[in-house]
Symmetry: C2
Subunit: 357 residues, 2 copies
């Protein structure tokens, strides 16, 4: 596995995006969002997906020069139409709308339609932090998940991210799929042909399976909880809320109608909305209490949890965001490792578009 | 097990609350909230808790005549001080503030301090439905839950409820603890001395256990997911967000400082805030798109999921809120069954306060 500097991958990604017609500034924004996944260790959502976005553009399912706009608003809400643009560009626009609303109304809530895959949820929620705001980021996604008791795949891995500022402590950043395991983790097991733990997936008949190929063979990822006895109806309920906030509020496709990320699968012939949907929130902490007071209490919260007595065999209790932040510091310094297959894929992409790798 | 009519339990509960000094209207509100738990099948949070509230009043930890008030606000936010009142009264007040904010600003968000146990989360979220709004209700609670890798109990079962209106279909109502299993379910196993599934609890050393007495013996409930491999860090993260929104935003106690519900346990000697905290949200659906359009799409969403092909051995796929609504219809008609111990407890309470049972 070779390792590449952030700058190398940034330049390459930006140049590819400019080649498919993105304006320079949009290419810079999209690159930053995409690479934040590699930096934070969510390798499935980073440069490994660049050629996937390009293939969607090739089949006219991504508009490189979208007219992203607010189509409806109240003092604390807006609906944004992404005009078929890259989610990597639509999402930062929509989150900024939420932040501007929050500056005046205390909070801002934006539902987005006609968008596409937006990278990792966490990076958009974190956009609020520098404004002393809490950021929230949700998105629906290609249907790969079966609700409790369902044979059919009706939901995406529909992540929830919440970013909360602190004072001396680093921020609290939750960024989680509403499934037991994200699809990226399953892909790792597939590559290694290792068994998956029970509770991650079901087979095409809806029976528990540990085959890492379960989803590929017509099965499904399972909602957080795994089975009814362990609370999978809760993971299903959370994924459903993400779907409804992202798409039923905005007029995007929801549930099984969400367009697949992969270009070789056709979108549903009878869509119920436009593109896929996201949902963003920004809450000014001083809309509740003085920011300094809030952040000092967050420091107390974080320290108390981090210093809790760990169970035997574990070094410490983690705060959401700790592992990703530590990895980001390391990868900014030492570079980002890429699988040989990802490296080859990017090299081929460079050759195709005349961009040096 | 005897069965009692809703009206019988309502009259009794209201009369007891008046006896401890609640104004008539507050007693009516609190009774409605408390009994909604019995109607919806969350028996642990209904009349079974009435004597628990009374015992808190006896040790001066509940103020029967609180001056509940907004202490800070912006167009879309408020902080409410519950003045040590019953959560059963404070919560409907705060949710109404959120609804009034939403009427003008599109959404309303209210964080509450200096409150107490507020019954089931769902009933407060559902308060938004008749206004064609989405309702959200969160609360922190007595520390019984260990974060992933922690031996210590630092969080409550911290529920999340989201209520979403539909058109012809009944509303979508998610109401879930952020643990694998709610404490009430464990209490049922304790009474029957049955084993708990692995993934529900850990013992005092932080090891998995199936003993139904695990929590009583110094162990803890586990976050949704159960263990790290099955995503317990996600349940922990969600419970943490509920804690922070409910208490760090409002100035209530958080984490291990949350005062216990039971009167025989003393609150923490060095509190970090006042009472416990809640968080409420109300979003006008027409702040995003016309209400009729939204609700028609919710009907499509709900029908599609309910009609999904079920796995073998299951009758159908459920929509969040289905089981509780069905039980409510049944119990309104046939009455509410009470365990002999609960019946005896209420009878004794009636004798103590001169209220006929």
């Amino acid at each position: 596995m070779h390792t590449f500097s952030l700058q190398h991958l940034e330049t390459f990604t930006k140049n590819i995006l400019v080649k498919i017609g993105c304006p320079e500034n949009d290419a810079i924004t999209a690159t930053k969002v995409l690479l934040s996944a590699d930096l934070r260790g969510v390798d499935s959502h980073g440069v490994a997906r660049l050629s996937g976005y390009v293939r969607l553009w090739e089949v006219n399912r991504i508009n490189p020069t979208p007219d992203i706009r607010v189509v409806h608003e109240t003092p604390s809400t807006a609906v944004v139409d992404g005009d078929g643009g890259l989610g990597l560009v639509v999402a930062p626009f929509a989150m900024q709308v939420a932040i501007e609303k929050a500056k005046i109304a205390g909070t801002g809530w934006v539902s987005v339609r006609n968008s596409n895959h937006y990278g990792i949820a966490g990076i958009h929620a974190m956009q609020a932090l520098e404004h002393d705001m809490i950021g929230i980021s949700l998105t629906n996604a290609s249907p790969l998940v079966s609700p409790t008791f369902s044979k059919e795949r009706l939901l995406g891995t529909n992540p929830i991210s919440v970013a909360i500022p602190a004072k001396e402590q680093p921020p609290f950043v939750l960024d989680m799929a509403t499934t037991t395991a994200a699809n990226g983790k399953l892909e790792i097991l597939q590559r290694k042909q290792q068994e998956a733990p029970f509770g991650w997936i079901q087979d095409k008949d809806g029976k528990p399976t540990s085959s890492p190929n379960g989803v590929r063979d017509g099965g499904a990822l399972l909602p957080l909880g795994g089975d009814r006895e362990h609370g999978s109806h809760k993971g299903y309920g959370l994924g459903a809320v993400v779907d409804i906030f992202s798409a039923v509020l905005s007029g995007a496709n929801y549930g099984p109608w969400v367009p697949p990320f992969v270009a070789f699968l056709e979108p549903h012939p009878h869509p119920v909305g436009e593109g896929l949907g996201h949902f963003f929130g920004a809450m000014r902490v001083d809309a509740f209490r003085p920011a300094d007071e809030f952040k000092a209490n967050m420091d107390t919260w974080i320290s108390r949890f981090r210093e809790a007595t760990p169970v035997d065999g574990q070094e410490k209790v983690l705060i959401p965001g700790d592992p990703e932040r530590e990895l980001e510091a390391e990868r900014r310094q030492k570079g980002i490792p890429l699988l040989p297959s990802v490296e080859a894929d990017l090299k081929a992409l460079g050759e195709k578009f005349g961009v040096s790798w």
